[in-house]
Each structure stands twice: as C-alpha cells, then as structure tokens.
Symmetry: D2
Subunit: 234 residues, 4 copies
C-alpha cells in the first residue's frame, strides 16, 4: 500500500454504540468514501475489528484497524496479529492510540513487521518528545494527540498550537519523511485548516464525525477546508 | 440465546495463519456446520474477531467470540465490548481463556453483562478451584484447561483425569446448573469420549481440529464419539 | 503466622506523599502499635513495599504488604514475589485491592503459595459474588470494597449495608471459616461498629487514618468502637 | 544526584532467592561498595524494592531501584511512585528493563519526572532503534540488552557486537550526551572490556554477579578490566 497523499482525514470510529457498528458503520464508511471521491482528499476509516471485513469489501477508500496486538499469528486466543488485519482487508493500522497505549518495544516491533507485510502504520503520541521517539521507528504517519483534549471538542490546534508546531519541528529533525497528523479535539473544518496551517498533513478525528447529526456534511466541511488550507500552506 | 445442548464441541480457531482466517476459516466453519447437521451434536465455533461477521452470516451454528474486553461501548479504540460481538452476529463469547486471562472482577462483570445482553459465556479456568470460583459467577459454561497441556496433544482426560473429576465435583457443589467442558490437549474422538465419561458435557478444542489435514473428518470423529459417550454416560 | 483475632483493623498506608513514607510512616506504625496494645484489638498495617523492612523491625504488630506479584523468585526485575515480602518481615499481604486488581488464576495461585510460605492473605473484592469466588480460594481474610465508595468517606456499612450483609451470607455459604472485613469509605468509629454489627469481623481502612490530623486518635476511636461492637454482636 | 562517571558497573540484583534478599543482599551491596572504593569504578546496585532502604543506609555507593511505576503518589495500593524510591534512599531507577517493559508514553513521563525529582534514570532497550527512541527522552543512561541474550552468559559484545556499535551510532546521532551501557549476557571482565571497546561507558549485569560463587571477586575482575579498557578506549 502506498502512503496516503495529503491532505489526509482519518476517521477513528472508536466503539460508540450504535454509531460504530453494523448499519451505522456502513453508512459512515460510505459517506467517507463519497467525501473522498468528491473532494480528492485522502479519507481513511478505522472501524472496530469486527467491522473491518464488511467495510473493506463495501468501500474503496483505505480501511485501517484501530489497533494491532504485538504478537505473531499462532496459538493466540482473542488477540489480533497484523496478519488478521491484512486478511480482513485492512491496509494499515493505528498503533498506540491514547486509549490503547503500547510498550515502546512493541511499537517498534509492530511498525517493522507492518512494513514487511505492506501494511501502513499511524502511530499516536501524547507529546512532541514521544512523537519524535516513535517517528524514529519509521512509521508511515505519526499523530500527536494530547490526551487531555481528546473528545473535548477543544482542538489541539487552537488550545495548544505550540504542541503541534513543536511536534512538527522535533519530528522533522529526526525523521524528515514521516507524515504528521494532528489529533485530539478536532471538531470543525476550521480546526482542520488550523492543523494544516501549523505544518501537519492532516487530522485524526473521531467523535466529532462519528457522533455528528450529519457525518457526511461534517466530513465534507473538514475535507473542503483541508484542501483549501493545503493549497495555501501545504 | 438458549444454552447449547450436550454433547458440545466448541472449536476455538485461535489465530493460526492461514488456517484461522479468510477462505480457510470459511471452510472450517462450513465443515463444523455440516458435522452439527449430520450428527445432531452442538458444534460451536470461535473464530478471530475479524472473522466473526463473515462467518455468522455464512453458517447457522452458534458463533462465539474468543474474548471480550471488559469495557462498555464508547470512546474506546481497539477494544471489543460485548455489544460489538452481538452486532457482528456472535451468540456468545469465551472468557478468560488460558491465553487471555482476565481479572476476577472483570470476569464477573462480563458474565453479568453478557447475560443481560442475551449472550452466552464460556469461562475457562486452569484449576478445579478457579473453575468453581468462576462457576459461582453464573456463566453458561465453564471449561477446565490445565495450561501445561494446551496444544500438547496430551488430553487432560487421560493425563490428569482427576483434574476433570475434581473440577466436576467442586463446580457441581457450588453451581449445579452450569455446563462443564473439558479443554486442553483433546485431539481425538477417544479423548472426547473420555472427557464425557468423566462427567463433563463436552469439549473445547483448537489445534487438533484447526490444523488437521481434514478438519471435517476430525470433527466428525469427535462428534460421533461424543454422541456415543453421551448416550452411555450423559 | 496465626490468623488475626477479631475485631480487626487493617490500615492500608497506600502511597500518599509524604504520609505513607519515611518518618510519617514510622509514626503511623508506632501509633497503630500503641492502639493495639492499649485496646487489645488486632491492628495490622500495610505500608508501601519500600517501607516494609524498616517498619517490621520497628513495631511488633503484624505488617502486611499492599500487594504481591504472582511470580516465583528468580530472574525478575522490579517485581515483588511473596518471598521478598517474607524476607522483609511481612506476615502477609493484601491481594487484589481495588487499585491493583489481579487475574482470577493469579489470585488463586498467590493464596495457595502464601499458605505454603506461612504468609496470611487478605483478598479484596468489589461485589458479593466476587467475594464468594475468592473466598473459595481459601484465603485468611476477604474484604468487600465497592470501588465507587473507596476514598469517599461514605462507609459501605451505611451507604450499602445490603452489600455487606449479602457478602457475609454468600461468603459464609461457600466458606464458613474465612474472616470477613468491610472496606471502602470507613471513616469513623461509628462506621466500624456498623460494619461489625452487619456481621463482619473488622475493617480495612486507608485515607481516613493515614491523612487524619491525629491518626492515633482516629485509630483509637475505631478500635474502641470495634471492641464494643464486637462484644455485643461478634 | 550527579551522573555516574564512567566506567560504570550497574548490578541488578533481580529477585533471586535467597541471593537478592536479606543478608545475602547486604553482603552483595558491601562487596560492591568495596570494589568501588578499591578500583574507583562507579559501581551502583539495584536491589529489590523491599531492600532499598536497608541497603541505602548500609552503603555509600549509588542505590538504584529496578523499576518505578508511572504513577503520582496518592491513593495507590501496591505501586511504587518515584517519590517512594527517593524516600527510601534510592538515587535513581532502572526504567523499562526487558523483564518489565513500559509503554512509550510512560517511559517519557518517568524520565521527565525523575529529572525534576533529581533522580537518575537508566532506560533499557532491546534494539538500536528503541535505544535511540528512548535516548530522545533524555534519560541519564540507556542500556541496550537484546532480550534473547539476557541470562545466557553469552555477552552481546561478543555474540552481536554490531548491535552494540549500531546502538552507539544511532543513539549518538540523536543524543550526544547520554551515557550508554551494554547489558545482556555480560559474565566476565573480558566481556566488560569488549563492551567498552565497542564504545559504551559501562555495563548492566545481573546473574553473573548475583549468583557467583564469589561476587566480590567477580565484580573486582569486571571493574579492573573496565578500568583498563576505559584508559585505552574511553
């Protein structure tokens, strides 16, 4: 799988009930695909494990997993090795999300193994230093998400713009190629534009889209603003 | 979902690559269904998370999950609440497998919540005492699996028959209704018969079936022997 | 080590800074010893790992650990096997505290191994069912602590007396010998008396004593009330 | 606490019974102190939590903890915050040992907080990339220990010299100041010399010393060789 081209909008479905599952998940995935087609923005989705296969079959946009367990396939019960994700049709996985932190060694192991399996990795980090540390492991993308802002609707790009710019500076110093996303609290197209203006290539969003009254409209706004900002600052 | 009627054969697919995934998983599930139909034995399957939805659609036998995370739905990334399993079509879940042990409080919480969601629970235990302790939490089934025998091909019913009979005695003392399965090392129809003769209602099997040259023949042998033993000792 | 005789007051020092450490811990331990001597009540203390050796040398009352790791001694770095606690002078350990929950199998393993090492175990539980389940594992003491009341100052004996009486009934049904303590929210002598009146043999207390302006006075009040209640209801 | 001056010998006591505890631990600590005094080499010890206070009082060489939990002091039961270590007399702590791996974010948090508390940190890593990633977090020392060699008696400096030199190169690229130690399989003075020749400032050793027939002689040999190698290559 090739890296996603910026600007990028990754939609983490999380495990909201009923939004993240079944029919709701299907409609969300189709709306994301429609926005990708209509705007040209790279829109990727990260549904729950149990929804990956169905959605990877239903849509043509990239499907990520929300997590992978740092284990090889084999006598494992209830764990999700990277191979399981690939079999289900995922093209990559989020790693070390703030709600599912991993050991440093396991992040490095997963990133290396995913590369060999041609799976993309999007590694999350809570601080600029951790973002730079995981960037050293050479994932395809890193996302900086100060945990105290996740789910608050307060975008990191507004509340802590210096966290984003420090992340960009520090990450770039140690890894010039990695794609950098902004996460945490992104809730409008304006926030997405701010994130791109601060030097990142896109955003990782969850509740603002998944629980929106009209997820399509919300994603369309974000993608449109992302595009404009990208043309100006990208 | 009603409890499974004995004799019972639960097939844990684990995460063997490629056996537990994709086309292989589909064929395994169809063979299990065929054995159930041909013998009348309750055959249930427990595929990886990522395969549940596909297989629950493809077969009419009960599909279990290998595990559930002790969390409510919501802002969770890469975790599998019981609601995710139900949405995907599972009728129940294995809990506390030897490869995925859980905290005592979390087992009790999952068993109670699964009951309210009409999901069945099969709780594993490594010793008679732990089996009795989890039986007190009122799951639908308990399985005793001495970890040192798992995957060895040495059936607990032969190597440690007293572990099975002590489990049956102790579990029955504290919970007369729960279904009791034997796990660990079951690799032939003869082992299944021995497990039933020792007072349990069926078996939990993994590698002996999943990695068999002919899984259908292996399951047919196990189901046939289970039936004979059940008529004699059940 | 013989079991503690009721009524029992176990003081969990937790890790309050500076209260649980150094000079403060020493004074707390000495006050506990004084209360034990003056009232005849069994007062035991559970200081942090790093304080056990110093305090076990300084006082003659029983010193418990707050936790033990479910591992054998050997090539383990930063883990605390039961043998480490015994070497340091502890006579027992709390197991499965609400702030340090353990896997069901590990609780059973620790309880059995502690018995063989002549160490006492006090196993915590969050519900009557879990209390009965761990009581089956045959520890010396169980304590029921509804997590939502811990540290609130709202005693379980007042807020949820039925949790205490259900626990006593259910635990007694499965284990007639085990000592039963009440935890969570105990903050006065009156609460201790209520806990004993409801059928338990003592209490597990933390912040109300450790962070008290006068820990000695607080423990004396609790021990005195415990004694009175025990004479009446014990 | 100032950083240790090279060459450095850090002795991880682990949890060998009876070697790592009580009288044995005391004698080991005293022997380490004697070697430090006789050779001028920086010898530090890392005993179990329960032995820190006793040994910190008994010897004048630096006492490290084997681990710290990534938690603030407070309502924590059976966890070890950095403050507990400082109160017990430790001057620093090992972090992320191969037998006690931590989440990436927790390593960064511990390293930062230890710095503010004037505690030294020695962060372990299993690969050159992970060593460089943790070096970015600015600890005082990093140690590279390929897990497959730990406890084998096969020194990384011999079996995988390129792991050591790659680590040195990669770590230096991202953090020119950090002290670098070699761990895993170091069992003789010769191994220590090899580790220093490859560009590191010392070693982290456990079983070869702790379980030696004569720990003093073993440490003396290592310290003497370390000194010679340091004069030549340091």
């Amino acid at each position: 799988m090739d890296r996603l081209s910026p600007p990028i909008l990754v939609v983490n479905f999380k495990a909201y009930h009923p939004y993240s599952f079944g029919r709701h998940a299907y409609e969300l995935a189709r709306s994301a695909e429609r926005v990708a087609r209509e705007t040209g923005v790279s829109v990727a989705i990260a549904p729950p494990f149990t929804e990956i296969a169905r959605l990877a079959e239903a849509v043509e946009i990239p499907v990520f997993s929300q997590h992978a367990d740092p284990v090889e396939p084999g006598a494992r019960t209830g764990y999700v090795p990277l191979e399981a994700l690939r079999e289900a049709g995922a093209v990559g996985t989020i790693v070390n999300h703030s709600e599912h932190r991993l050991k440093a060694s396991d992040i490095a192991w997963l990133v290396g193994r995913a590369r060999r399996l041609s799976l993309l990795t999007l590694v999350c980090a809570d601080t600029p230093v951790v973002a730079a540390a995981v960037a050293l492991m050479d994932p395809d993308m890193v996302a900086v998400e100060p945990p105290e802002l996740i789910g608050t609707g307060i975008p990191v790009s507004k509340a802590k713009p210096q966290v984003v710019t420090s992340t960009v500076d520090l990450v770039r110093k140690h890894n010039p190629q990695v794609t950098i996303l902004t996460g945490a609290g992104i809730s409008s197209g304006e926030d997405v534009a701010a994130a791109i203006k601060l030097g990142t290539q896109g955003v990782l969003v969850a509740s603002a889209i998944v629980k929106a009254a009209d997820p399509y409209a919300k994603m369309l706004d974000m993608a449109t603003q992302a595009l404009k900002a990208w043309e100006k600052y990208g």
